[in-house]
């Protein structure tokens, strides 16, 4: 598509940028990634007067100062403005928080870019008794200013008209006056970088100030020599004035903002008497803050998992009826060969049906999370939980996906999106599979009633606690090794509370759902096809739905059962191994498989009696449950991990979870049965301890090369 113009949207977090993007582009949106990074890129277009304008939504950032090598959002924004050169830069300002929002505005004008200013949240400002002189603001920067209430789409048409205007005015006389010390440093830097600034068409003075402000990207210096010289100018400055150049640059910009603000902003009332303050008195209160947060988490769980579950049954019944059996009858009616029929119905049909069952929990979760984020409560949750989650180097919000994981790992993996740092998302990812998901519970329940009788509830509770414990150990271990790095200091804006905007919530939920169906589905469906075919055919290629003990999967299970002997599964108990395979499709499938396979072996006994007979009593049963608790998450969760992270991390999760499951179940079984065969158990136990120590050492060594530059 060819565009008449490209306009970039830029603004601080919480300025209402997403609302404006949605209002401008409507349903003409694309979601992708910025090249080379995992930061999401949104773009779209609108049409007006027969012209098509592209809108690129830049990440929400507080400034264009690149704070460190890890500040990806700032780098993306800076690079886009410097190298892609949009025809128009729409800077959105939160009118209720103008002073701080102007910091980036000042930088944009120093860059001499074609800027349109949008003064959003005029209603919030008015409610907080803040008056802004719009004409004076336009006068200061000598550009158009559009007052807006984006939540009510007030001002959007006016903005479109401004963007379409043929020639946007560039205010190339704009200068921020800095202190004489900075000015003299600027005049030293100017001749060095003049050539590189000219060749790219950047403002030379802005570049000089920006480099004194601390950006270290080599492309901006022109040469490594220049970089060294400018570093020296900065160091000399610190020596001479006992103050760093970046502090003085920020001081100069804010000093300028404070001066112009006197004529722009009129506060008629003290800010502390508004609604936000009244809500925060409870939401952040010493005695009410934590209980309220846990209550919100409880509501989220109820809403996402319990309500989602109500819809899963009809969806999976619908899937079975039409996509699997209905589809199969249709194909036999059409005279398709049986192998094709099974491939399409039992394989593809069931795969699609599996993906469909995850639509309700994902949709419900993101509806809820979007409300939490848009309303401003998410920042409050992060505030009250910060101290606890800090033990894992994680922000308080990392608690949210972990709660969801007790329901289902799939939405939990998707929910790690609420964390802004990739490293935080990875640590959370490694912890979530150990939060025992809802589909494992029926497996525990079956064994609890068969083996543990009245102790059953305690055993299930113990499993949940074990899962949490392993998650905590995993989190701390990875924080100290593979994902090592200086803890990210907390600078968390607490935005005023807002009523969430339905359109934003709908768009965000749809984006996530669409991403899961298309990208995770592309992996889940073929894997379900393969596993299902192995489960439905025998080695000669006959379709054998009635005799699962003859399937290829059963053959594989039988042949590898000896591997599980150390954790208490005997060779006669091969159905237990096959159950672990089908459990990879979906954890609750373990029960169906065990039931069918034991029934085939029963010969006059019920399948539960066979189950009890074949496991090594309570010890063997608990060891198996421990494995079920800890081993790899189901295919759908793996698909979600591959979509949200990468195939590499998916592989890592499989190895980590399954490896720990094997080691720990064996450790438990051998310790519990040590009196039976002391020397063999002793070797197993020592072997496992040595293996775990080796793993810890390997992780430690892998983390050793990591620099603490995460912030």
């Amino acid at each position: 598509m060819s565009f008449y113009k490209t306009a970039a949207l830029i603004g601080n977090p919480n300025c209402g940028k997403t609302t404006i993007f949605n209002a401008l582009t409507g349903s003409h949106q694309y979601v992708g990634n910025w090249p080379g990074v995992t930061v999401e890129k949104k773009s779209g277009f609108f049409e007006k007067d027969g012209k098509t304008v592209e809108i690129v939504d830049l990440p929400g950032v507080y400034s264009l100062s690149v704070i460190s090598s890890a500040s990806e959002d700032e780098k993306i924004t800076r690079d886009y403005l410097l190298f892609n050169k949009p025809d128009c830069v729409i800077n959105i300002l939160d009118a209720s928080n103008l002073e701080r929002n102007l910091y980036m505005t000042v930088q944009l004008f120093e860059m001499h870019l074609p800027v349109i200013l949008v003064l959003n949240m005029m209603d919030t400002a008015a409610a907080s008794k803040i008056k802004i002189d719009v004409l004076a603001l336009a006068h200061v920067f000598n550009v158009p200013v559009i007052p807006m209430v984006a939540s009510k789409t007030k001002g959007i048409e006016e903005l479109k008209k401004q963007i379409l205007q043929a020639d946007l005015h560039i205010n190339d006389h704009f200068v921020v006056p800095y202190s004489s010390h900075i000015e003299s440093a600027v005049s030293e830097v100017l001749p060095l970088i003049d050539p590189v600034a000219r060749s790219h068409g950047w403002s030379t003075r802005w570049l000089a100030v920006h480099l004194l402000d601390g950006d270290t990207d080599l492309r901006l210096f022109g040469s490594a020599d220049n970089k060294d010289r400018i570093e020296k100018i900065k160091n000399d400055f610190s020596q001479k004035y006992d103050e760093d150049t970046d502090t003085m640059v920020a001081d100069g910009r804010y000093g300028y903002i404070t001066r112009i603000s006197r004529n722009l902003i009129m506060r008629c009332d003290r800010l502390s008497k508004n609604i936000t303050e009244s809500i925060d008195r409870i939401a952040l209160g010493r005695y009410t803050g934590l209980p309220l947060f846990f209550f919100v988490m409880y509501l989220m769980f109820l809403w996402t998992i319990t309500l989602g579950d109500l819809l899963i049954d009809p969806i999976s019944q619908f899937g079975d009826k039409y996509l699997v059996s209905g589809f199969s009858s249709l194909m036999s009616y059409l005279g398709m060969p049986q192998w094709l029929n099974v491939l399409l119905s039992e394989g593809v049909g069931r795969g699609v049906s599996t993906v469909a069952t995850f639509i309700p929990p994902i949709a419900f979760l993101f509806l809820f999370l979007s409300v939490l984020e848009d309303s401003g409560y998410m920042a409050r949750g992060a505030f009250v939980m910060d101290k606890l989650m800090r033990n894992f180097n994680l922000p308080g919000t990392a608690f949210v996906p972990m709660i969801v994981a007790f329901g289902c790992t799939v939405p939990a993996v998707m929910g790690t999106r609420i964390l802004s740092s990739y490293r935080d998302r990875l640590i959370t990812l490694m912890m979530t599979p150990f939060m025992s998901c809802g589909a494992r519970l029926p497996v525990y329940a079956l064994f609890a009633s068969a083996f543990f009788g009245r102790q059953g509830a305690n055993i299930v509770f113990l499993l949940y606690l074990t899962g949490i414990f392993i998650a905590v150990v995993t989190g701390i271990l990875f924080k100290k090794t593979l994902f090592k790095g200086a803890p990210v200091p907390l600078i968390l804006e607490m935005p005023p509370y807002h009523l969430p905007i339905i359109k934003n919530i709908a768009v965000r939920t749809w984006d996530r759902l669409h991403g899961f169906i298309v990208r995770a589905g592309a992996l889940i469906v073929p894997l379900v096809v393969v596993l299902n075919l192995l489960n439905s055919f025998d080695i000669k290629g006959n379709f054998i739905p009635q005799t699962p003990e003859r399937s290829i999967l059963s053959d594989i299970g039988r042949s590898i059962t000896p591997i599980f002997k150390p954790m208490g599964i005997t060779e006669q108990n091969w159905p237990a191994t096959v159950g672990l395979f089908t459990g990879v499709m979906a954890k609750e499938a373990i029960i169906g498989t065990l039931d069918a396979l034991y029934a085939g072996l029963a010969e006059g006994a019920t399948s539960t009696q066979r189950l009890v007979a074949l496991f090594d009593g309570k010890t063997g049963a608990f060891s198996y449950l421990l494995f079920v608790l800890l081993y790899m998450p189901c295919l759908s969760a793996l698909g979600a991990i591959a979509k949200e992270f990468s195939l590499k991390w998916m592989g890592f999760v499989i190895i980590w979870t399954t490896g720990q499951a094997y080691l720990l179940s064996t450790l438990f079984y051998q310790s519990a049965t040590i009196s039976r065969n002391f020397s063999s158990s002793f070797y197993w136990i020592s072997g496992i301890i040595v293996t775990e120590l080796l793993i810890f050492t390997a992780l430690f060594l892998a983390g050793k090369g990591k620099k603490d530059d995460s912030f």
């Binding site: 701080r100 006992d242 502090t247 505030f383 009250v384 101290k387």
Partner: protein
């Protein structure tokens, strides 16, 4: 990055309701200092401690008319008047 004078204190000592003015920064994480500057905590800026989190940390401050939370330990980089 000067050393504080006798009448200047650390952020650590502040309690809920206290008002103070940023005087400068101790040596420490430069990226953190820079982000504080971007958020408007430049030398000479007044701020108020609004509240402390239920578990004792972080603290919420009001600066330049908006609310932001910082951890005590990290914010001890700031020294105040």
């Amino acid at each position: 990055m000067r050393e504080p004078k006798a009448d200047q204190r650390s952020f650590m000592e502040l309690k809920a309701g206290d008002k103070a003015v940023v005087a400068g920064f101790f040596k420490g994480n430069p990226a953190y200092r820079k982000k504080l500057l971007v958020m408007g905590l430049t030398p000479g800026t007044p701020f108020e401690i609004v509240r402390i989190a239920p578990m004792g940390d972080p603290v919420e401050i009001m600066v330049r008319g908006y609310l932001v939370s910082l951890r005590r330990q990290e914010a001890s980089l700031i020294f105040i008047n």
